[in-house]
């Protein structure tokens, strides 16, 4: 992770509002964390203590849950999350090359986010559309039967638009 990312201000006022809604509820931690992430983009490490107080847990326990799930993040994420599939079918159909090209194109390694918070690059094990391999998902859009030319088109159209 490059150190010069200027994280947007984490909205602690909004955080307090979300925590207040879950106070006193049983088993509220995971839905609360999901909502914080949805609303505020990520779960700031500084948010762990107030969340723990809100749900009556130790901060170390909340951190344990956050660090357990890949779906929960403690650093800001890009506006576009690119997930390149590394499943078996995609691998056989050249997924490795696709990943290499995406890395070059975005100038990111796996798990990294661009300093302008435009892109986050991740890999996934399988997205379940092996017939279209090699595949990639950007936010909620799935792209199949990828090749270098198609990749170029996808990213060019996104940056234009």
């Amino acid at each position: 992770m490059s150190g010069d990312i200027k994280a947007p201000e984490f909205d602690f006022d909004r955080l307090e509002e979300i925590i207040a809604r879950y106070k006193g509820q049983k088993w509220s931690l995971i839905p609360l964390l999901q909502e914080v992430q949805r609303e505020l983009g990520y779960i700031s490490p500084a948010a762990i203590k107030p969340i723990a107080e809100g749900v009556g847990m130790f901060p170390s326990q909340v951190q344990g849950v956050v660090s357990f799930y890949t779906g929960l993040h403690t650093t800001p994420r890009g506006r576009n999350v690119v997930k390149v599939c590394r499943g078996t079918a995609c691998h056989v159909r050249g997924g490795k090359t696709i990943l290499k090209i995406v890395k070059q194109r975005l100038a990111l390694e796996e798990g990294e986010t661009s300093p302008d918070l435009e892109y986050t690059l991740e890999t996934v094990a399988c997205i379940g559309v092996c017939a279209l391999a090699p595949n990639m998902v950007i936010n909620n859009d799935t792209y199949g039967q990828l090749n270098p030319k198609k990749l170029n088109q996808i990213f060019s159209s996104r940056s234009r638009g």
Binding site: P45, I48, K49, G56, M57, F58, P59, S60, Q61, Q63, G64, S67, F68, Y69
Partner: protein, 787 residues
């Protein structure tokens, strides 16, 4: 209804709710475990305790599987043994291969179980974690490459000491126990209580300072010599060196926990600054002397002063840190050999309030109940103390009650305490007005009609007069005196009175005040008014400053009471404050101080003691007080002598000698015995036990207490019920004097205190007392905490 199962071909029965492991342990069937501990909630993390259900071939983790009727369990089938071996091999495959040099050595449970299962060569691909030793703090060394993720440390921190410093971090292979932000322990809220270190089955958590490597030769069970909790500790000894301290097994006040002082602070006993021979001051400098020289000089001087100025010109000061036997002998020496009534002890000032306040109302001048009752209560009223530093076991119990048993905590303290954040209600009365606050609370309880009417009418006396005496404590009046909003007083009154059971815990914050006895009496009234005496989850807890604060008073190191609080016949002697005053005016000419350092605690006392004709100090170190003495006698520490301490719960517990005292130093009682001999009075005791036998014969409060019967956890005095553990809870069958007596509240607005606030030493869990033990502990004194 008992449940019967077949365990390894034998029918055994257990109670519903028991696990297979519980029943196996009860039946003497060994099942290996790594993540299980009887003090923790069963977890099922390590899978070593797998057993086979022969009816369906299923493998069950026995620590989390309840017994069911008709179960047929095999604990050692082929399948079970193969699974256990595989699991151990998988653990070893990611464990470093450096057992040869790991200090956990043969204490490592992973190694023990591997050996037991015959696992030698691990034929799995080895992927050990890289070693990463973290040891910047003076207490705990962490090497998480040896962690097997059993979570004992995590659970102990959450369930027992309720700090929750660590929890699992990450998932899969990289997962490990970590603090918030994965910081080193010293940057977290860790209190270094050492509970995790003691429970860790492998070498992942170890004490940092290792004065000895390899197996230790013997283990001595004794009592911690710091605070009044009286934790039972096992001292591991090699040669003449105490290597480590661990909590003892048994029905003890501390269970599986200690605090940083108990776990690591004992190293003061091996300090190079310990006194090793008697010292006599010659021309302002101390010169080493033999015991004969020193004792003959003391005997000669005491006799000289006695014959020149009378026995009453001599004063004796016993110790809230020495054993009951030491203190008993000192007061016996003072009263019977010298013939002076001037005997007091450290901590007696604090106990004075309890003696008058509790003794007068209830009968006995001490806590009514065991610590375990705190955890059963619905409401906890904590007054004038921060047990997280002064009595950590009480702090743990309060936090457990609040966090896991939904108890409500009311904190009454003019200062911030470590427990304020756990409190449902926090009241900060002006210092010195606490009794007005309690009286205001009681008046609200009576006005609202929520007092315990049947308890008051059946078991107490003086209610009408008491009730009338509260007339001056109208809410607005109390708010004016104490500065606490009347709505808060109302909340506290309702919360406390409407609880099914509630406890009151108080400490030095009120007992050191001039009106301390009034305040304690008010608290006793509150307990009587709400019926919170003599039942489970209720009672009053009088915290003690020191390990034997209660015992020293019990033993009659008091100016106005003989041992067992029997009143003195010929008028009271001088308390410490009186001794100092009379020394200043020249009426006290000689003083004998055992194991106390008043110069560090009482402003101005140094000047007075340096001007006194003859001062004898017996202690472990050349303390600020000892420096002023004419003769200094080297004494043995708690780990170097036999005897008993009485903790604040009234447990009389056995102190056992683990190592020899350094040099020529001697147990305090032997010094007094020798001194008596030098003065021509024979004290023919051959052991501390014989002194306790005399105490048990002479002092009704200690009747029936003898060393042979003291098991781990001790005997709660009074042992009048013949019960092996004595009286755990007082007043269950009513009050000794027939009734609990309400005190009449006088309207008092005074705010004077015995010691001004700025002169009260601020304690941390690392530093408390008068600078003898913690300050001389290499490990504790390495920690600087600003307070």
């Amino acid at each position: 209804m008992a449940i019967t199962i077949t365990l390894d071909g034998v029918e055994v029965s257990g109670n519903p709710g028991m696990t297979i492991l519980d029943l196996a342990q009860e039946s003497g069937v060994h099942i290996p475990t790594l993540c299980h501990d009887p003090h923790l909630v069963s977890y099922g993390a390590c899978r070593i305790c797998l057993v086979e259900n022969e009816q369906n071939g299923a493998l069950l983790a026995s620590c989390v599987s309840p017994i069911a009727p008709g179960m047929v369990i095999n604990t050692r089938s082929e399948k079970v043994m193969a699974s256990r071996r595989t699991i151990i091999k998988m653990m070893l495959a990611s464990h470093p291969d450096n057992c040869m040099v790991c200090d956990k050595g043969n204490r490592c449970q992973l190694r023990q179980i591997a050996t037991e299962l015959g696992v030698g060569w691990v034929d799995f691909q080895r992927i050990p974690h890289p070693a990463e030793i973290q040891d910047l703090n003076p207490f705990i060394e962490r090497d998480l490459s040896k962690c097997i993720l059993c979570a004992k440390c995590i659970r102990a921190c959450q369930e027992l000491v309720v700090e929750g410093v660590i929890d699992y971090f990450n998932r899969g292979f990289p997962s490990k126990p970590a603090t918030v932000g994965n910081t080193p322990l010293e940057l977290s809220n860790c209190t270094f209580c050492g509970t995790c270190v003691n429970l860790c089955p492998t070498g992942a958590l170890q004490e940092k300072v290792k004065p000895h490597h390899g197996s230790t030769a013997k283990v001595v069970s004794t009592i911690c010599g710091f605070c009044g909790c009286g934790c039972n500790i096992d001292l591991e000894v090699s040669g003449n060196l105490v290597v480590r301290a661990k909590p003892s097994e048994g029905d003890t006040p501390n269970g599986a926990t200690l605090c940083v002082r108990g776990s690591y602070g004992f190293d003061y006993i091996r300090s190079p600054h310990r006194l090793t021979q008697p010292l006599i001051k010659v021309d302002g400098d101390f010169k080493p002397a033999s015991w004969d020289e020193a004792l003959n000089m003391v005997a000669g001087k005491l006799s000289e002063i006695k014959s020149a100025s009378g026995a009453e010109s001599l004063a004796f000061f016993g110790s809230s840190k020495c054993t009951n036997e030491d203190n008993y002998l000192l007061q016996k020496f003072a009263r019977e050999v010298i013939g002076t009534p001037n005997i007091d002890s450290g901590g007696s000032v604090y106990n004075l309030a309890s003696r008058n306040g509790l003794g007068g109302s209830l009968g006995f001048a001490a806590s009514t109940s065991p610590i375990s009752d705190i955890e059963q209560s619905e409401v906890i009223l904590l007054v004038g103390d921060d047990p997280t530093t002064s009595a950590p076991q009480v702090g743990y119990a309060i936090k457990r009650a609040v966090r896991y048993k939904k108890a409500s905590l009311i904190v009454v303290n003019s200062q911030d305490t470590g427990l304020a954040s756990s409190a449902r209600l926090s009241l900060s009365p002006e210092p010195g007005t606490e009794d007005a606050l309690f009286n205001g609370i009681m008046r609200m309880i009576i006005d609202n009609g929520i007092w315990h009417k049947s308890f008051v009418s059946e078991k107490t006396a003086g209610f009408d007069k008491f009730s009338k005496s509260l007339s001056g404590y109208a809410p607005e009046q109390v708010e004016r005196i104490t500065g606490v909003a009347s709505s808060k007083i109302q909340d506290a009154a309702r919360l406390f009175a409407q609880a099914r059971c509630a406890v009151i815990i108080y400490g030095s914050g009120i007992t050191r005040q001039i009106a301390g006895d009034r305040m304690v009496a008010s608290l006793a009234d509150l307990a009587l008014l709400t019926g919170n005496i003599g039942k489970a989850g209720a009672g009053i807890f009088a915290l003690q400053e020191e390990n034997n604060g209660l015992g020293a008073s019990d033993m009659g190191c008091l100016p106005d009471f003989l041992p067992g609080y029997q009143p003195v016949a010929n008028g009271a002697g001088l308390a410490l404050s009186g001794m100092l005053e009379q020394a200043k005016s020249g009426n006290i000419k000689g003083m004998y101080i055992m194991g106390e350092n008043p110069v560090a605690l009482i402003p101005g006392s140094g000047e007075i003691l340096s001007s006194i004709d003859f001062l004898v100090v017996q202690d472990l170190f050349l303390t600020d007080t000892a420096k002023l003495a004419s003769v200094v006698l080297p004494a043995a520490s708690f780990a170097e002598k036999d005897g008993t301490f009485t903790n604040f719960e009234r447990r009389v517990q056995r102190v056992r000698s683990a190592v020899d005292p350094p040099g020529e130093s001697l147990p305090d009682w032997q010094i007094i015995q020798k001194l008596a001999g030098a003065m021509g009075h024979s004290m023919p005791y051959s052991s501390a036990q014989e002194i306790m036998d005399e105490i048990a014969a002479r002092v009704p409060l200690y009747k029936g207490i003898n060393y042979a019967d003291i098991a781990p956890g001790g005997i709660f005095w009074p042992r009048t019920n013949g019960n092996r553990f004595g009286t755990r809870r007082l007043y269950e069958d009513g009050f000794a004097q027939g009734f609990g007596r309400f005190s009449v509240a006088e309207l008092r607005e005074g705010k004077e205190r015995v010691v001004p606030d700025e002169l009260v030493p601020r304690r941390t869990v690392f530093q408390f007392g008068s600078g003898v033990r913690c300050a001389m502990s290499e490990r504790l004194s390495a920690v600087r905490v600003d307070v």
